[in-house]
């Protein structure tokens, strides 16, 4: 291919390449479906990806720090259940939301402490937590959804502000804050450094344990937010909600260019990765591809993305 070829390859590997992929998929679906490009559908896509994006932002923190969090789907469901049952119990939307976010945060802290002080790999700790949190959600509700939530609560997941879905606005707000935090504060630099090489970070006087716990806490809190939005949208807390969410979320982060070994990745990449997955899901539904086949397509896309990146 020569010099020119390698240059093109380099561009394609960056975020620009991802945008091109997104545009390509967009064009493909707009040809296949007349409905795809309509403003209503595009806004719908932003609503559909908002939960994934919020949880993926937390996952980006975790992966950048060289760890992984497999428990996100279960934690989101547990947070949703907590929100639902507290709301029913107290009749207050705010107490429900506080309960949901608190339980997400609590589980994040527990994950972090087990990883750091228990010295167990995050893959194993969070795999166990995936089971525990899901079990708690099912046990708490006896496996049945909690319904009868306040109508007003539905705003977060299903409401609109001037035609824009509220959940999309929440996601964009969180993205903005996380972006500034990761790129413009020392904490972001420290997190990336710990992921790049923990020993160098430690010897550079970075309090690595504090930050490792912190990233799991952030992930837990954002799972709480995600779980609340899912619950709000359905106006019912489902203990089986967000099953398999971890796969879509990790796929978005990896698609966005992050490395599972840590230190490499950007929030912008995660945003585009989440958009690609959202567009594929939406487009395949519009075109009428079966839900079973959709799983195959998504799996292949992840494999191709990783194979292209591997050429470094």
């Amino acid at each position: 291919m020569g010099l020119k070829g390698s240059k093109i390859k380099k561009v394609l590997k960056g975020e620009l390449g991802l945008v091109l992929v997104l545009i390509f998929i967009g064009i493909l679906f707009s040809i296949l479906s007349n409905y795809f490009l309509m403003p209503k559908n595009l806004l719908n896509i932003t609503r559909q990806i908002s939960t994934n994006l919020i949880v993926a932002i937390g996952m980006t923190f975790v992966i950048l720090c060289g760890e992984i969090d497999l428990s996100v789907g279960s934690v989101a469901a547990l947070a949703g259940v907590a929100t639902g049952s507290f709301m029913v119990l107290t009749g207050s939307i705010y107490l429900g939301i506080i309960a949901g976010i608190s339980i997400g945060m609590l589980i994040g802290v527990i994950n972090g402490i087990l990883v750091v002080y228990g010295k167990v790999q995050s893959f194993i700790v969070t795999l166990a937590m995936l089971g525990i949190a899901r079990g708690l959600a099912l046990f708490w509700t006896n496996g049945k959804p909690i319904s009868g939530l306040l109508e007003m609560f539905g705003f977060f997941g299903a409401g609109y502000i001037k035609n824009i879905p509220a959940s999309s606005i929440i996601a964009i707000f969180i993205f903005f804050v996380a972006y500034i935090f990761l790129n413009r504060t020392k904490h972001g630099t420290y997190i990336k450094s710990i992921g790049a090489n923990r020993e160098v970070a430690r010897l550079s006087a970075i309090p690595i344990n504090r930050y490792r716990i912190f990233v799991f806490t952030i992930s837990g809190i954002l799972c709480g937010v995600g779980g609340i939005i899912i619950t709000s949208r359905l106006l019912s807390a489902q203990p089986v909600a967000a099953t398999g969410l971890e796969l879509d979320v990790i796929a978005a982060v990896i698609l966005g260019g992050a490395s599972l070994s840590g230190g490499v990745g950007t929030l912008m990449g995660t945003l585009i990765g989440a958009m690609i997955i959202g567009v594929i899901n939406n487009g395949m539904n519009l075109v009428g591809i079966s839900a079973f086949f959709q799983q195959i397509v998504k799996g292949i896309i992840i494999l191709v993305a990783v194979l292209v990146k591997r050429g470094d």
Binding site: I180, R184, T185, K186, T189, Y190, K192, S193, A196, N197, E199, V200, A201, R202, L203, S204, A205, I206, P207, G263, V264
Partner: protein, 502 residues
């Protein structure tokens, strides 16, 4: 005269700008034990790596039984009958002794190539008996001591019928009894006409077991001797050589008498004995010893990187408790670790990110946000001062040469204006020009009142750079010398356990 089994001619090897081997000739006879000695960085390990196919030489020829060969990779080396035992072990801890000995070379049944465990066990137990080693072949390697492990490793090498055995610091860390067993095995092998290259820092071992000795210095073969015709003094002199001392700039000022750092009966994880030492303001305190003497452990413990178990550590007269490097930084300490690539730098991050990571608070505006402009200014400022080449703080650290990488590691701490700097082998693997620049930097720092703990196993460097030198052996300080009253030969003699020790 016996025919040479292995012959090396005009071997050259460069790593970046560093000449690791220059025009090296070497010859090994059948059934000979040939010692390879020299200071750290003299090129011994590079030579071994070339012979085992781990790296490739730039120029030169290798002959086995007079036939020219090339060793492209470790598999070829093994096929040619060359096996190596390294300082770091290559055994799989979870497998049994027998499984390790035959790893990759298992006796198999005809059916589907399944391992024949019965033969595996019988062969290895015969093997162990042959060398009179009392280890149960069923035991897991993880249950064995270091010396036993190394012996198993030698047996593993022999199981492929190695004709040439390379032992790189094989006796390091072994007890005296284990070394005796090792020597017995080597002697048996010699009788079986196996040839061996034995790398060691311990001259006593060379005199005890070797037939020939070759000395490397700065990548050159500076002499090959018959062991029976040479004495320790000659070997030491040849190892050190006559160096041009101009590459070691002299500092302008003398250390003051204010104590900056002091330890009393200091004892930490990985160390063998209690250490008491003092560091004065503006002093360059050398701590030296051969590999395994405990320098790095001591340096790490002083910085709080390794856990302290007992004893006192005082900084400017105040007793402190350092639990982690971040505590040491509060007392304005800095640490330049031995392993630049794995401990000093984020290789994939930019030079400016590396320079600011330990002092990131300097570029924070409004209590939270990083100023990219300030980052650039600070990074450029220090990069210019340290003459980092190329002067581009946006490139990744991995794209710099070793010497310039080291400047970045030093620069990363200089930004914080430390009072105490601990440097572990700060000039390892960098070329002569860059070395002199690093020495100049160290002198400037010391002249400005910084106390420097200079850990190095290059004796000439220690002698010429430091004001005062502590010599470690087996984890204990065995002597203290003033650099003006000593020579690098004397330091080497003490470090090796010569007569001058207390």
């Amino acid at each position: 005269m016996e025919q040479a089994i292995l012959k090396l001619k005009n071997i050259y090897k460069h790593f970046g700008g560093i000449k690791a081997l220059r025009d090296v000739d070497f010859s090994l006879k059948k059934g000979e034990i040939h010692a390879l000695i020299g200071e750290n960085g003299a090129g011994k390990s590079t030579l071994i790596k070339i012979l085992t196919g781990v790296t490739q030489m730039d120029e030169g020829e290798i002959f086995i039984y007079g036939k020219k060969i090339s060793i492209e990779n470790p598999v070829v080396a093994r096929f040619k009958g060359i096996a190596a035992i390294y300082q770091e072990l290559g055994l799989i801890e979870n497998l049994s002794v027998a499984q390790n000995i035959y790893l990759g070379n298992e006796p198999t049944k005809k059916f589907m190539g399944w391992t024949d465990n019965r033969i595996l066990l019988k062969n290895s137990s015969d093997y162990l008996k042959e060398f009179k080693i009392e280890i149960d072949p069923n035991r897991k390697v993880s249950e064995l001591g270091l010396g036993q492990k190394r012996i198993i490793e030698i047996l593993k090498a022999l199981s492929i019928n190695a004709q040439i055995l390379l032992l790189d610091e094989a006796a390091t860390g072994m007890s005296k009894a284990e070394i005796d067993i090792l020597f017995k095995i080597m002697y048996n092998l010699k009788k079986q006409k196996v040839s061996m290259i034995y790398i060691s820092h311990h001259l006593e071992e060379v005199f005890k077991i070797c037939d020939m000795v070759t000395v490397l210095r700065n990548g050159k073969n500076v002499g090959t001797f018959k062991v029976s015709n040479v004495n320790k003094q000659t070997l030491i002199k040849t190892m050190i050589g006559r160096e041009v001392y101009d590459e070691y700039p002299r500092r302008k000022l003398k250390p003051s008498s204010d104590v900056l750092l002091q330890t009393e009966d200091f004892f930490a994880e990985g160390m063998l004995k209690k250490i008491s030492l003092k560091l004065y303001k503006g002093e360059i305190l050398g701590i030296t010893g051969i590999i395994g003497a405990g320098k790095s452990e001591l340096g790490g413990a002083l910085f709080g990187s390794v856990k302290r178990i007992s004893g006192k550590l005082k900084i400017k007269g105040r007793e402190v408790d350092l639990r982690a490097p971040k505590d040491a930084c509060i007392y304005r300490m800095a640490y330049i670790p031995e392993d630049r690539k794995n401990q000093g730098l984020f290789l994939a991050h930019s030079v400016e990110d590396n320079l600011l990571i330990a002092n990131i608070n300097k570029i924070i505006v409004g209590k939270l946000f990083l100023s990219l402009r300030k980052k650039r200014i600070y990074a450029m400022d220090i990069a210019k001062k340290l003459r980092v080449i190329p002067l581009d703080v946006l490139i990744r650290a991995q794209n710099l040469s070793g010497g310039n990488q080291q400047k970045v590691v030093i620069g990363k701490w200089m930004i914080g204006n430390p009072d105490i700097v601990i440097m572990d082998e700060p000039t390892r693997g960098i070329d002569v020009g860059a070395k002199t620049e690093v020495y100049n930097l160290i002198n400037e720092l010391a002249d400005s009142g910084v106390g420097i703990i200079f850990l190095s196993s290059e004796f000439i460097e220690v002698k010429n750079i430091c004001d005062r030198i502590l010599i470690l052996r087996k984890g204990a300080i065995v002597n203290e010398v003033k650099s003006d009253d000593t020579s690098s030969e004397e330091i080497l003699t003490i470090a090796l356990g010569g007569n001058n020790s207390r």
